[in-house]
């Protein structure tokens, strides 16, 4: 809150000054009136009202008014009289008439007639009695202006409920039963009143030699030389604007890609839908392995791969599953079935892409990486998704060793910001030896498990025609993204909440 003493009119926005000037003349007004007086739009007035209210220069009172006006039927009654009055006027005083004769005498339908009879009787304008087994009506001749008529006559324009006496309000309530006699609406009104402080300040608003807006016309004409630009409240907040941006997971993926490339790795990518051959068989995973079950893997319904794979590779893989072929392995000792290999899956890892790459190029030396989406048939929870990203790197070389793998990982994680790394043994079906790594997260102050690695088993690489050892490592990506942004629930990453997306800074 700015103190009155510190406020000078230069602290006020152009719109605020305009409004204060208008209010100082009027003292109190409705919002609509201000539009007319000031020449500002409703939106502009609303905004300046808010600002002035904050500064205590005006007061705002919100009131609700209940307005009563005549409905369609109410208008009709005003013109032609109440139906019960019209009914009664059709008879002479003292005249008696059979009930059944009435419809002929008066243009009211059955319902309206019954209602009119009821009201007329209540007003004691008629009596209803039985004579010779017939129902008779007699006009008593005691009519006066009914209170209802009086009330309806009073309503020549919408009136506030407060302008009716309590007796009248009672009658109004009873009229609600009679269709379209009365209509009411609730109107919200905003009354604006200038405060004492506001009045004080407004005295200082003069037309002075300041320009508020510099226009091209002023620049062209040179007018700007005759006055200076009014100082603004440069400390007030400005309207928010949003920028376009990439998804935070994408930003992280790009960082990881940069790291790989800087370490001399070539990016490769491949299909998401793979044959079981590349996803499992070529990776020496036996056909009855639990990971191949539908509980864990998404198989595509009714789809079989044509398996356009080198005949020799197919033969080699079959052999190696059966008895290790010439790789020096015992193999899995079962009969490999090519039909199983044809079943199509949503890939469960990006390793099938790496391995296909090896099969295509049969390199003696290579450094290859991929970052891609993989799928697991799991229930979605705060830490598991059905679809997530995997990063994978492979190195082929004549003399590469397990220690080289550890060295590369150390360098890779260092570039990701993790200075300390530990290794210990692990198990993966297609690498041997295999290791797991843990890195120290400074922010959390603890070690976190990150990534697995190993040397591809010869049962994987030899059938594809690769003779040199192949180092491989991989890890999930989402965990790292969650750590960076302090998120506990992995699902949040893909909710695409615009507030979150808009709010993520590029330098976290």
């Amino acid at each position: 809150m700015v103190r009155l003493a510190d406020m000078n009119t230069n602290n006020l926005h152009l719109l605020e000054r305009k409004l204060l000037q208008v209010m100082s003349n009027r003292n109190e007004a409705e919002l609509e009136d201000l539009v007319n007086d000031s020449g500002l739009t409703v939106d502009q007035i609303r905004r300046s009202v808010e600002w002035l209210k904050e500064k205590n220069l005006i007061e705002v009172k919100m009131t609700e008014m209940k307005l009563i006006s005549l409905g369609k039927e109410g208008e009709n009654i005003k013109q032609n009289g109440l139906p019960e009055k019209r009914l009664v006027n059709k008879l002479k005083t003292g005249e008696e008439i059979e009930l059944s004769e009435l419809p002929k005498k008066i243009d009211l339908n059955q319902d309206e007639l019954s209602a009119a009879l009821g009201y007329a009787r209540a007003e004691k304008w008629i009596t209803i009695f039985k004579k010779d087994n017939k129902v008779m009506i007699r006009r008593e001749g005691k009519e006066s202006e009914s209170k209802i008529e009086g009330l309806l006559n009073k309503i020549s324009e919408p009136l506030e409920l407060s302008e009716f006496s309590s007796e009248e309000q009672g009658i109004l309530r009873s009229l609600v039963k009679r269709p379209e006699y009365i209509s009411h609406e609730v109107v919200k009104k905003t009354r604006i009143k200038i405060t004492k402080d506001g009045l004080e300040i407004s005295k200082n608003i003069k037309d002075d030699n300041y320009i508020d807006v510099l226009t091209p016309k002023m620049l062209e004409s040179g007018e700007w030389r005759n006055a200076s630009l009014r100082p603004l409240n440069v400390e007030s907040p400005a309207p928010t604007i949003y920028s376009g941006k990439k998804h935070p997971v994408r930003i992280f993926i790009d960082e990881v890609r940069e790291i790989f490339v800087s370490l001399g790795f070539q990016e490769v990518e491949g299909s998401i839908v793979q044959s079981s051959f590349w996803n499992f068989d070529a990776l020496f995973t036996p056909q009855d392995h639990p990971a191949r079950e539908i509980q864990d893997t998404f198989y595509i319904e009714n789809e079989k791969a044509s398996l356009e794979v080198d005949e020799q590779i197919l033969k080699n893989v079959e052999s190696v599953h059966k008895d290790g072929a010439n790789t020096g392995s015992k193999g899995w000792r079962y009969q490999w079935n090519i039909e199983q290999a044809r079943r199509m899956v949503m890939r469960t890892h990006t390793t099938c892409v790496s391995v296909k790459n090896l099969a295509d190029n049969k390199p003696d030396e290579a450094r290859v990486f991929s970052v891609g989406r993989v799928f697991r048939n799991e229930k979605v929870t705060f830490k598991n998704l059905v679809e997530f990203h995997q990063i994978e790197g492979i190195v082929v070389g004549k003399d590469v060793t397990l220690r080289d793998l550890m060295g590369l990982l150390t360098k890779f994680y260092k570039k990701l910001g993790f200075e300390k790394i530990k290794f210990w043994p692990s198990f993966f079906p297609y690498t041997e030896p295999s290791l797991q790594s843990m890195v120290y997260h400074e922010g959390l102050g603890r070690w976190i498990e990150l990534g697995g690695m190993g040397i591809f088993r010869p049962e994987v690489t030899r059938p594809l025609g690769v003779k040199n050892p192949v180092l491989a490592w991989g890890s999930g990506l989402e965990r790292l993204v969650m750590l960076r942004y302090g998120i506990d629930d992995v699902r949040k990453l893909y909710e695409n909440d615009l507030d979150w997306l808009r709010g993520i800074p590029l330098c976290p």
Partner: protein, 553 residues
């Protein structure tokens, strides 16, 4: 991953030297094990499915004793003779061909030991047993059994008293009841069913379904008869190896059983004299360690593998349950473990390789750059969606690729378009500030020429109170110009998701259709409970890339 519970008091009594709880917890991971849970009395250890010998604390203790150098020699397993024989009927070949067995005497079975053995049995059933199909194990009270036993087949009217029941049930009844239906599928299609019974025609077991009640164990049992049946001889023998070695470590004396099949007699458990040869240079080069032959032997011994140098090779022999060692690399890993993984110093390999980005991914990077430059926000959604989402978008659900047995209907079909996800994202953000301008670049799936086809799709969605076709068109033009300096034009057409008369095909400079653009139908907006109009366009990025590549040639 399977888990074993190890009580400290039992473990310390099995270890041959003193070690503190802390030291124990520190060393265990270097055997390749993960500590899952810790308490004052026990630790829960997660082990890999290729080492079922770790399914009991006996197995863990056995490894630790060698690994920690508490034991530097280990003895082979003594298998004594027994008079037990199983005569195998040829008919079993059709339904469940293989059977092996062993007798274990003088075992001390306290509650925890029994619990450990049951865990081991379950692991063997689920792991190498592939849910009892390949391996089923029966553990029986030896003292109520009389030899010779027979392994025969019977028809479904055969009856016996199954475990924990008081009266006879027929095979048919068992298979249809709750005690039998879990694994009944393994025997489906067969008319004759395997049964093991003793000389008094008492049923020991109906594998893989259930044991007989007669031979059940109780706290007084000290002598065991173990049968292992299955469809894979290796699996069955390996399972028995894990069992008898563990029970041996539990103090039992192992006796063999003679299996009489088709005239030939074999005694099980069989200890194979398999040896594997590993080139010592291979050891050094794979690990990256200049270690001597002597050191190789020492490190092997830490993993309970005996090695003998023979020229440039080391010849190794392992314990019967180490069927996970199928290639020299498996042995090399053991040597690495024996050396101590924490002792391995990382090295950096030299390389002349230069890195690079994939061309397609670079193109997509530029696509994203252009769109973010135009002020749009990228969203990322999943590749599997529900049919319901397509229906809400009024898009056809015929010819969709589906996945089998999904765990959630949210993920049942492969998306053939990003549009439903874009609309869903808008509907989740109706309370956020407008204008909302978003895009997605991701793979969509479909079939082309009868083959599954994937391509990258760009979808741009614009939502605010006064959005219209023209605005989408402006973005489309800017996109084409900024990315490839091409003019993308729009040709009037009809489209199931767009308002009639406000839909068009996106055409490239050669007249090829590469996408669609339009204003979303109000019915679709209603389906997603949206309250602002939405304009949208879709482009097949693979096609666009092809254009760019041919342009550059």
């Amino acid at each position: 991953m399977p888990v074993v519970t190890v009580y400290y008091d039992r473990m310390f009594s099995m270890l041959k030297d003193k070690i503190s709880k802390d030291q124990l917890i520190e060393k265990i991971p270097y055997l390749g094990l993960d500590i899952e849970e810790e308490s004052d009395e026990y630790i829960k250890i997660e082990y890999n499915p290729n080492r079922p010998d770790y399914s009991t604390d006996y197995g863990i203790a056995r490894s630790l004793n060698s690994f920690l150098d508490f034991e530097t020699e280990y003895s082979e397993y003594d298998i004594h003779e027994s008079e037990f024989v199983i005569n195998v009927d040829k008919s079993t070949e059709q339904v469940r061909q293989y059977i092996v067995a062993a007798v274990i005497k003088d075992v001390k079975l306290d509650d925890e030991t029994i619990r450990q053995i049951i865990t081991m049995q379950e692991d063997l059933h689920n792991g190498i047993g592939r849910k009892r199909k390949k391996v089923a194990i029966g553990i029986h009270n030896l003292d109520v059994i009389k030899s010779p036993l027979e392994y025969i087949t019977v028809d479904d009217s055969f009856s016996f008293i199954p475990l924990n029941k008081d009266s006879d049930m027929t095979v048919k009844e068992i298979l249809n009841s709750e005690i039998g239906n879990q694994y009944a599928g393994i025997l489906s299609g067969h008319k004759r069913y395997p049964i093991i019974r003793d000389a008094n025609k008492q049923v020991l077991s109906f594998p893989p379904i259930i044991n007989g009640d007669l031979t059940k164990l109780d706290s007084k049992t000290t002598n065991l008869f173990i049968d292992v049946t299955g469809t894979d001889l290796d699996a069955v023998s390996n399972a028995l190896s894990v069992l008898f070695t563990t029970l041996n470590d539990a103090g039992g004396k192992v006796h063999s059983v003679e299996i009489n099949v088709d005239g030939s007699k074999i005694k099980t458990p069989e200890i194979k004299d398999d040896a594997m040869e590993v080139e010592t240079e291979y050891v050094r080069s794979l690990l990256g360690l200049e270690i001597s032959d002597k050191e190789i032997i020492k490190y092997l011994r830490r993993c309970r593998i005996s090695g003998e140098i023979s020229g440039n090779k080391v010849v190794v022999k392992t314990e019967p349950f180490r069927f996970d060692l199928i290639h020299p690399v498996d042995v090399i890993e053991e040597i690495g473990l024996g050396y101590g993984i924490h002792n391995l110093e990382p090295t950096l390999p030299g390389s002349n390789m230069t890195g690079g980005f994939d061309e397609k991914q670079l193109f997509l990077d530029k696509v994203r750059d252009v769109l973010t430059g135009l002020g749009l926000i990228e969203i990322m959604t999943i590749g599997l969606i529900s049919e319901d989402m397509l229906e809400k978008s009024e898009m056809s659900t015929s010819e969709l690729l589906k996945v089998v047995d999904t765990k959630s209907i949210e993920h049942e079909v492969l998306k053939n378009s990003n549009v439903p996800a874009i609309l869903k994202t808008f509907s989740k953000n109706i309370h956020k500030k407008y204008p909302q301008r978003i895009f997605e670049v991701s793979k969509v799936f479909g079939k082309r020429d009868n083959e599954i086809h994937e391509n990258y799709q760009l979808t741009v969605g614009l939502a605010h109170a006064t959005v219209n076709f023209t605005e989408a068109s402006s973005y489309l033009n800017a996109f084409g110009k900024q990315l490839l300096d091409i003019d993308l034009s729009t040709k009037a057409s009809e489209n199931e998701i767009f308002v009639k008369g406000r839909a068009a095909e996106i055409i490239d400079e050669e007249g090829i259709k590469i996408g669609a653009i339009g204003e979303i139908k109000p019915q679709v907006l209603e389906n997603f409970a949206l309250r602002t109009p939405i304009s949208l366009f879709d482009i097949d990025l693979d096609q666009l890339m092809k254009k760019r590549n041919s342009k550059n040639e």
